[in-house]
Symmetry: D3
Subunit: 172 residues, 6 copies
């Protein structure tokens, strides 16, 4: 069975990693779909799809996950909800089960006939992307919330400085 | 004289039907333009263009309106206000008079040289799409606000459940 | 049973009308989907979606077809074949059977699980849109190939002159 | 040295003119890039790119600025921040220095390797586009905030009436 | 009277300059609209809008043309012919007369009610963009066909090498 | 050193696999960028991005390639050549060297400052995607041209039938 794990991963944190391991316990393969791939350089979505892709790959390697079982793919938004599931289906390998959390995403997959499992049950609230970003902006400790490989990449791209700068903005 | 009646019709309610009959009293034909046709699956715009189209057609049939006099057409947004009237003009038969309510829509048609009649004078506030949607979300009675054919279609597509589910979301 | 009849209708000719009547013999309702709705002002696609819509409606009226059974709707291209059927599905009422002719269109509906009937068996080759357009450009008689209501509309919009002028062009 | 001066210029006011003169003191040529060129007919962005273009040109003429040294160009938004600087680069002549104020814009040019000078130091706060628009909506005196040529164009296009009308709207 | 001169200017050659001077003899101001502004790096459209903009400006300066009377503006294609004139109207100052040559462009402005003058009468065939590009690809002399300022810019951006390289390609 | 290998992979054949192994001999990691990801269901581009992704992954597994060193990513076209390299850069991890063959692609990366190595030197002509597709359409043997894992996936999705059907079409 191949499953889909959909999220924005801004950034990929330890909660995501925990869920990913759980999914791999229940399924042979997982597609990690990087949602809103076109977004970057905003407080809510600071990192590009390419940056998020390499964060997830490094986190998997660091956790000893077999990369043959994980498929990481960017998915741009399409701004038409009724088309979004089909859009995603054309960009990734086939799958049968979905792990998601956002109510709209859940609803769209349910209408399309997929089995959906909510990830919020899976300790999601202990870690969150918005908490990581808030700490970056306020100059607080955030490294303990993400896998070491993710922290390294954020440092390489000067991610803290980027999010701090754009936090003074209202958006383009 | 052919007139244009523009709205989002989320969903088509008894206030819309009342206005439509009024327009047909003053004009030979009417184009019912379904605005924001690309939107669906949000609390403000729960229904697809195809769903709204068939709601309007059933409501007309139920009210004994001559379908040769009514042209129902979806209009996607174009996200450039200065182009929007021209965009609409290329998708519908020619028309001379416009029935609209939203101030921006009115302004755009006025700048394009059309005669515009405001529909708010026409009992609009007794019924409203947002009220119908609010009642659906809160589990209150809403069927009395829409034509019977519209209520049937909403039931067929499990519309109450859709709007309830996505009301827990913040939007994609 | 509701069926879908998909075409570009540049313009709607007697062959189309013949097929439409056949479809209404086999089905209760038909959706006439005007494909490539965004195109106009080219030799292959001279007429806007709005012009084609009113041609089809007038042709139905002229043929005494019950308009409650016919739903005419413009469908813009989406330039991603794998998404096109889903795109169409969100814009029109639900349907179960498809009448089409173009092999790609047929293939896309087959992959989506629809029953598809080829219209070419239905005398299509006696009449064709390209033949009507060729005659317009060469100044030959073309009115006998289209319903009278269609010929009237083409005259109203000075369609012969338009196609002649743009035939000297290579496209924008 | 050729510099870039980026803004929305809704409308071009005396603060903009002051900055433009300063830039021409420090640089041989300046590109005045009209941002969000696709927007118009909203309270925040009432004027089209064409209207803003002619306002800026008239303001330069009125101020005796040598037009061979000023290049005025519209730039549509691209809705992908990581692509925006490159998008702009393909539409304007080459430049080396940027004058901007909005933190996101500043950040994007810094990541692309440009020297950026903040315009807020240059008396920006005495004049502002939002103040001009607020006064128009409230019927207050606004002409003293813009160059005479700009006021003339706003009158020609009945700009006060436009912004007043759409201020009653919530947006399309 | 303000006129519009529309072309792709790939590149701006002596024929264009001749026409521009003629237009300025008949009109007070001219808008030089750079069509297909989004295109570059193809054999038919090798130069970006920014490169074409500065070519035209330098050619005007070299010819002693008063820059207050000339407005140079890029216009991206919109891929919907029926919207194209309106699209252009929102991006440029108002105009009353059009100088164009391509039959489709002429037809679109005629349908929109403009007075159109064909430029082909104005010696167009002595010079042509396709001839300049052909000579570049075949290593023949082309500088005598363009204003000196244009030749300088093509050299600065290594334009000959670009067009030669992409002439081996079929297009992306 | 991380390298980029760009192609359409319609489908991924033994020539591609040979090049991929060569690249991994010269570089630590490689990004396999699936170009024109939005295309499918045409004779030239029959397979979706998701189908091509899983073909490449299966081919790597079958060839014993370490998946930690290979990053497979879909890249949609952007239809503006001057933006395309930047578009790709935002979707993939950083890279320094490019392996490509198409002259336009080579030129765009060269203008962006990358080191580019032509893949045509690397036995490309023995195998080609167009040859595989031609054989499918003509009912000839094609399996020997692709890795076994690719042939299996094409069978699963009934790829031969798809390409045969659409070969009768002219395109949508």
């Amino acid at each position: 069975m191949r499953a889909l794990f959909i999220g924005r991963f801004q950034p990929f944190h330890l909660g995501h990693l925990f869920i990913l391991k759980e999914i791999l316990r229940e399924n042979e393969e997982v597609i990690v779909a990087i949602g809103s791939a076109q977004l970057s350089h905003t407080v809510r979505d600071p990192f590009t799809a390419g940056e998020r892709f390499i964060m997830i790959k490094r986190a998997c390697e660091g956790a000893g996950i077999d990369l043959a079982r994980v498929h990481i793919l960017p998915i741009e938004d399409i701004h038409r909800h009724a088309l979004w599931v089909r859009h995603l289906e054309t960009l990734v390998p086939t799958f049968r089960r979905v792990y998601a959390n956002e109510p709209l995403t859940v609803r769209l997959f349910v209408e399309a006939g997929y089995e959906v499992r909510k990830t919020e049950m899976m300790r999601r609230n202990e870690y969150s992307g918005s908490e990581v970003r808030r700490r970056m902006i306020e100059g607080l400790e955030w490294r303990s919330l993400v896998p070491p490989g993710v922290a390294e990449i954020i440092e390489e791209i000067d991610g803290e400085r980027r999010i701090l700068d754009i936090s003074k903005s209202d958006a383009k």
